[in-house]
Amino acid sequence: MKKKSFSMLLTALLTFSVVLSACSGGNNNNGTTAPAASSNEGTNTVVAEKEAEPAAPTEIKIMLPLNTSESPPDTIKNEIEKLTNTKLTYQFFPADTYEEKLNASFATGSLPQVTYLKNQTTFIQMKEAIKDGQFWEIGPYLEEFPNLNKMKPEILNNTKVEGMLYSLYIGRPLARQGMIYRKDWADKLGLSAPANTDELFEMAKAFTEQDPDGNGQKDTTGISDRNELTYGAFKTVSSWFGTPNAWAEKDGQLAPEFTFQQYIDTMDFFKKAREAGYMNQDFAATSKTDAVNMFTSGKAGLYIGGSMQDIDSLNKDLIKNFPDAVLDTHSMVAGPDGNFAQWMIPGYNNVVLFPKSAVKDEAELKKILAFFDQMMTPEISNLMYWGIEGTHYTVEDGKAKPAEDKELIEREVKGYKDSVIGEAETNGMYESYNILPGRIHAEQLLLENVKVGVADPTAALESATFTEQGVELQQIITDATYKYIYDQIDKAGFEKEVESWKSRGGSKIIEEFNASYKAQ
């Protein structure tokens, strides 16, 4: 009896699974089978594109990262299609897992004709494939397109691979990092914007201990940070301390930032702030969303490291909770030696590539470039960046003023906003018309930042080891930095990790960058 019931159970399970698999097989035949098969053969079958019929709209597939939670509706896309005679297919993938999607699509040969990368790190990873000739070199074609030709040569230079241009860039201000803080809290406690790193620490302390929200409870913190050294608070504060931007010369040789004393000083700053409770204690495990929530829910008073232009969205969410809250931006924080500094990006935050596996010939490439050429006109770039005039923004004093309904803009426009190539100076789109005093201040600070900006000297240098292993090795340093801040290792322990970085490939990176540096 026991055996019988058991085998009946198995039979039932089996039938059930067969039925299930039959269902899923039937539904997904077109969808799943093809990629699954091709993923193991590495062929280019998936990219079977419909050739554009003559005179008909050019069909373009575009893959890009999405920084909101949902794909935008077609409102903007339809307008672009009308204006550019194209048929566009946008494939949005969440920015959080974009590297994964990018690598998987690349491995299966299914990258679309237009492939946006995610940031400079993904660009470094793609370099090997670029050198191997997997993407179209577009440098020679640029002069045929009057608008594309306007892109800034110095930034284009930063994106070249072995002296050749393969990509278009999405321009960003060189140095938009700084801090966004609760001006109402500071005013109440009689504090002014911190002039140096000591005052910054004092502000974090006061925000924690002196009950800035006046509710009689000690329920506030200074800094709200997240699990990210570069775009979190760490790198920005470290540049205030005078740490070089990734690499700098030391004893006549290029050396990585974490071999400089200032890097240690920055770690000490955060260690002190964490121990004293002047920042969120779990920042090494806090996501960007949680860090932002902490700030907009009035629990923290300092948000450091992101773009100061983010003040608009932070303000929007904060005043929902605290209508009287006032935010301001600040970035001129002097280091212990009294000097100002701010790290800079190489003028772009992302690039677009054109895979040869999807773009079959020169003619097709030129059609796609023609679309991007149109994107560089004020009409299209405004449409993609600001949305539809009258719905998403209005023009005042020759500048774009976003509509009141921020949710609508976020839903319908944000997805496209991050894909506009060039910058306002080159594509002629509107500058933003700001009303928020903190945002106006931020725009002034962006210009100030550039004056004291520190560039990454290796941006245009070559190192094969860095291309291959740089990201993997950086993890060792990132982990060690957090362990130091959390007091799990001391300075000697940190130096041991740096040695481990060196022995596992770091030394080679140093050598190669220096060789490339001298050859310049």
Binding site: F6, L14, N103, A104, F106, T108, G109, Q125, A285, D479
Partner: protein, 322 residues
């Protein structure tokens, strides 16, 4: 991969053995034709999704370049396996994987059984159904949700658990970043999400036990505990062993998503497991060959484990899974 693959072939096999000559075999095949038709989609599924992809394992012996394809990439022999075994972190990662697996077997595995026995003792169908639903609902939440809920509960900045600790006069505990809390957090979350779901099969097999056995036992004066010990448990022993073998098969498969969500710079030394390592090395850093080699290694261990446990269970007089 392999451990599930044995199921569909299990059905036709005994019949082939019984067929004494080919004409009788044909007759048998014909008589059961609808069974074969029914099993075809399942077999196809395994061929397409489980066996064909094995072809891709080739790249673990190559210096695979996606744009050159399998036919165009260079052969490098065992280089990636050598790299894996000489990697300074490898031993640590393997240990982490095995420890989490051990926790799964020792702590998690018995819980659904106990839970099923307890649910079974509940009188009144309403309560039974109610509690059963209550305990298996968490299964339908994604790991992201489970981990986020835990994050909110245990965070140092106003998390309820830390607030309670302070209220009762204890120190705050940094659950999220303290390496020694990673494993307890992991196993508690597994239990919370999966235990109820795991009871379903046990409850189903308990329901199939002949009530006459219990009546007879009661007549002989057996109490509740005695009934459980002498009737219920022996009756579901087969199911327990089958599920145990299947569990062993996934020895190094601990739910990538869950661990990855809990992983951070501070607990990496205890939290990095083979799955997360494959993900970071392979998908995020594009080392396809290397990560395939690791995955391959993992599958082989799984296969060996299933085969040995299966053998063991047969030696002990149980059915095994094949």
């Amino acid at each position: 991969m392999q451990e599930v693959a044995v199921q569909p072939s299990a059905a036709p096999q005994p019949q082939r053995k019984r067929g004494k000559n080919s004409s009788e075999l044909k007759k048998r095949l014909w008589r059961n034709k609808w069974l074969y038709v029914m099993v075809t989609p399942g077999i196809l599924y395994f061929i397409i999704f489980k066996y064909l992809p094995m072809y891709g394992l080739i790249i673990s012996f190559q210096d695979y370049k996606p744009y050159q394809g399998i036919s165009g990439s260079d052969w490098v022999g065992m280089e990636h396996f050598n790299r894996l075994f000489t990697e300074p972190d490898f031993l640590n990662i393997l240990m982490n994987t095995l420890i989490l697996f051990g926790l799964n077997i020792v702590i998690y595995f018995p819980i659904p059984i106990i839970l099923a026995l307890m649910l079974n003792e509940l009188r009144g169908t309403f309560f039974k159904r109610f509690f059963q639903t209550l305990v298996y609902l968490p299964h339908f939440m994604s790991w992201v949700i489970v981990v986020s809920i835990s994050f909110v509960m245990v965070t140092m900045d106003g998390g309820i658990i830390n607030e309670l600790l302070v209220f009762f006069g204890f120190e705050k505990v940094n659950f999220l970043l303290n390496p020694s809390w990673f494993r307890p957090m992991y196993i508690i979350q597994v239990i919370w999400r999966e235990a109820g779901w795991g009871t379903i099969i046990y409850l189903a097999s308990i329901a199939a036990i002949d009530p006459g056995l219990y009546e007879a036992a009661r007549m002989d004066g057996a109490g509740r505990l005695k009934q459980i010990w002498h009737i219920t448990l022996p009756s579901i022993r087969g199911v327990i062993i089958t599920l145990f073998i299947l569990k062993i098969g996934s020895v190094l498969d601990l739910g990538f998503e869950h661990v990855y969500l809990l992983l951070n710079s501070m607990n990496r030394e205890v939290a990095e497991i083979i799955d997360t390592y494959v993900y970071t090395a392979g998908l995020r850093q594009g080392q396809f060959s290397y990560s395939t080699a690791i995955g391959f290694f993992k599958s082989i261990i799984g296969l060996i484990m299933v085969m040995s446990v299966n053998k063991l269970s047969k030696k002990m007089g149980e059915e095994g899974v094949y």
